[in-house]
Symmetry: C2
Subunit: 421 residues, 2 copies
């Protein structure tokens, strides 16, 4: 039996050192937003920043704003801010394009390195449960390269065990999501990277579900490359641009095939020959959407005064509480918690399954508690310490209990597909 | 001798049927903006549209806005609007990513078709004076493919002559800018496409400097694929997303290698196997920047009630006037007009050279007349009929005359590089 009640959750909220960050976000009233692992909420200054970019920079500065407003340097400027959050140094990351496209760049460059260092290695491993777009991009790359390049899917257990059966002498590259988007399982970056390197392969980490959610030390872990988005835990706005990070020792070794003018060493010479910029800038391609990029900077700036250890600690407390309450208060129902119970294996979400998962999530959303649903049967609840508190976790589980105990999901309006993203 | 004077230009402006469109744009006072071929000006509703997206769609609608606000469908919705301007039917284009990245998709798919139809063809031709990023992207693709794939650069005269010396049996693909970004030379789409097809190659047209500037009939010309940006003549905002168009007969023949989840036939099934969507949607990759994309729609919407024949007619009248005035009023100076004098070979800009081109453009900008400078020696003046009038052309050439006659460019502040984009 748990002694937790709503009052004890309120007390924890009032003691929460991160509580002030809630003011950085503008959430609708009467809403518990547990989908920040899919789309972070609106940042306080976003409208004003967009207005500035549109009226002052675009409207008044016109073409000159590429220099005077610093548009040209935004990918590097924002990249430095992301790098500070993921254990990379200044100049090790850029914000640009989409996660999928950045994966294509990273994987292409990694395979090019292996083609020189170990040309017999032509297999890419990735989790069967990696976010599907990553898998599709790797399939597209392997198909384009032909010549025996191939993508092999591995189970999460194979990754956590250090690839005992799949790390053969054919493996060139391993592409791993740091956190499983569906279950919330976290993979250990340092030991996994070591196992991959011991096997002679390179690694690209996808940080979409971990950047801004927990402490990451890419350089300290010996990682080779990383990619990720800025619109989930980093609150950059819908579809805000992604990032790419490359280890210092590798950044100048190879170019990537999406070699557009933004990655050129002297772009305004307009030479017909490509000459890659030094370092991470060679991972840039073409002209970036400046309004979306500028709004994304606000999300990153919030993190300039956030203690990531405190974020991680609160995230685990929130998910511990969620799990405790599901165990103690929903035990009469056929619910399975698919998120690992060990802290070391848990990201910043709790996912549960129920045969009526879709209808249950629809009923929750109808009362202002917004999580999301992923096939098959999974209800996901993102726990974002900057704007979610303990009382909201309590209220969410109580709402679930009400919906389950009273079969409130069993209404026709909750079964219409398309109602839940 | 010309009989043109400022008064006659004012009369032409007052008779101009397109003059009302100037109200759709918000230009700074005391500015003549002749760089809309590089970055179109601010559209009237841009700030309000950004506010709606940020406050109502992102802030209030949150994750649900992917469906309820139509975010997911924006690339296809905007693509239809672009298609209407370039001679494609509904469903033939999408707005997404950057021009450079869309070129990589198009060229990759085209080479894949040729690898089946004519595998000995492995050469890509493109103009030596194509915008450099296009050349760099093709070089990146050829290097990635290896196996004899190669990019060859051809002079503009070779293109206009129908490739008499370069169209060999090795040529798989020709990538052509429709208008030379530096000189403003326009290439004839129909006859050039025919010459390329007669040679057994496919063609990708880059419409960055023609979409929104003149009438384009891609389907009627028999073109295979096209790409272009929305931030020049289409006034989408800084770095707004690009477009890609594929001829109906080719759209389902092959996939492109940047095969992300937005191009999947059933993206929310989260299957680990890529299955391309039908038609042009398979040219989508990852999640798009929704604020930039939404603002771009306003620029496209202006064209829904524009007569492109009238735009083209006025564009030629503006450039005829510019050329006439340079000939008649700047004849004492070492100026060369590098833009073709024949209408059939002229885009929507006039470019002139002068040994002191950089300093002259700097002096012009200092008095609020904004063109731009491109190495070597080229001053570019974009002539955009929706918001530029005849009097502004007169005033521009008069300012040039003053600067040249009085050597006003010969001041130290006009020689500092970096002052002009």
């Amino acid at each position: 039996m748990t002694t937790t009640d709503r009052r004890s959750c309120e007390l924890r909220d009032s003691d929460d050192a991160l509580r002030g960050f809630r003011e950085e976000f503008l959430l609708p009233p009467e809403t518990i937003y547990l989908d920040g692992n899919s789309l972070g909420p609106r940042t306080k200054g976003a409208t004003e920043r967009a207005r500035e970019v549109i009226e002052d920079e675009w409207g008044t500065g016109l073409i000159g704003s590429w220099n005077t407003a610093g548009w040209w340097d935004l990918p590097a400027k924002l990249g430095d801010k992301v790098a500070g959050l993921i254990g990379g140094g200044a100049g090790s990351a850029v914000v640009t394009d989409t996660t999928s496209i950045n994966l294509f760049k990273a994987a292409s460059a990694a395979l090019k390195m292996q083609a020189v260092d170990a040309p017999e290695r032509r297999v890419i491993l990735t989790q069967r449960e990696n976010f599907p777009s990553d898998i599709y991009m790797l399939q597209g790359l392997a198909e384009q390269l032909g010549d025996g390049y191939e993508v092999r899917l591995v189970d999460d257990a194979e990754v956590t065990a250090g690839f005992p059966t799949t790390m053969t002498a054919e493996v060139a590259l391993v592409v791993l999501t740091h956190v499983n988007y569906r279950t919330g399982r976290l993979f250990d970056m340092e030991s996994t990277t070591s196992a991959i390197h011991a096997g002679g392969a390179l690694v690209v980490w996808d940080l979409c579900h971990s950047a801004g959610a927990l402490e990451i030390d890419l350089a300290g872990s010996g990682a080779d490359m990383a990619i990720g988005c800025t619109y989930k835990f980093l609150n950059g706005g819908p579809g805000s641009p992604a990032f790419i990070w490359v280890a210092e020792a590798l950044a100048n070794r190879f170019t990537q095939p999406l070699s557009g003018w933004w990655g050129h060493d002297r772009p305004f010479e307009m030479s017909p020959d490509y000459a890659p910029a030094e370092g991470i800038r060679r991972y840039l391609t073409g002209t970036q959407g400046i309004v979306s990029m500028s709004v994304a900077e606000l999300g990153l700036d919030i993190y300039s005064h956030v203690d990531m250890a405190a974020v991680r600690a609160k995230s685990l407390e929130l998910s511990d509480l969620f799990i405790e309450l599901v165990d103690s208060r929903l035990s009469a129902h056929p619910i399975e918690i698919v998120t690992p119970r060990e802290h070391a294996h848990r990201g910043s979400q709790v996912s549960i399954t129920h045969p009526q998962g879709f209808a249950i999530m629809s009923a929750l959303i109808a009362r202002g508690i917004i999580g999301d649903y992923r096939e098959p049967e999974v209800l996901r609840f993102g726990l974002t310490p900057l704007y979610i508190g303990f009382t909201e976790v309590w209220d969410t589980v109580e709402a679930l209990r009400d919906i389950l105990d009273n079969r409130l999901w069993d209404a026709p309006e909750h079964k219409v597909r398309g109602a839940v993203t």
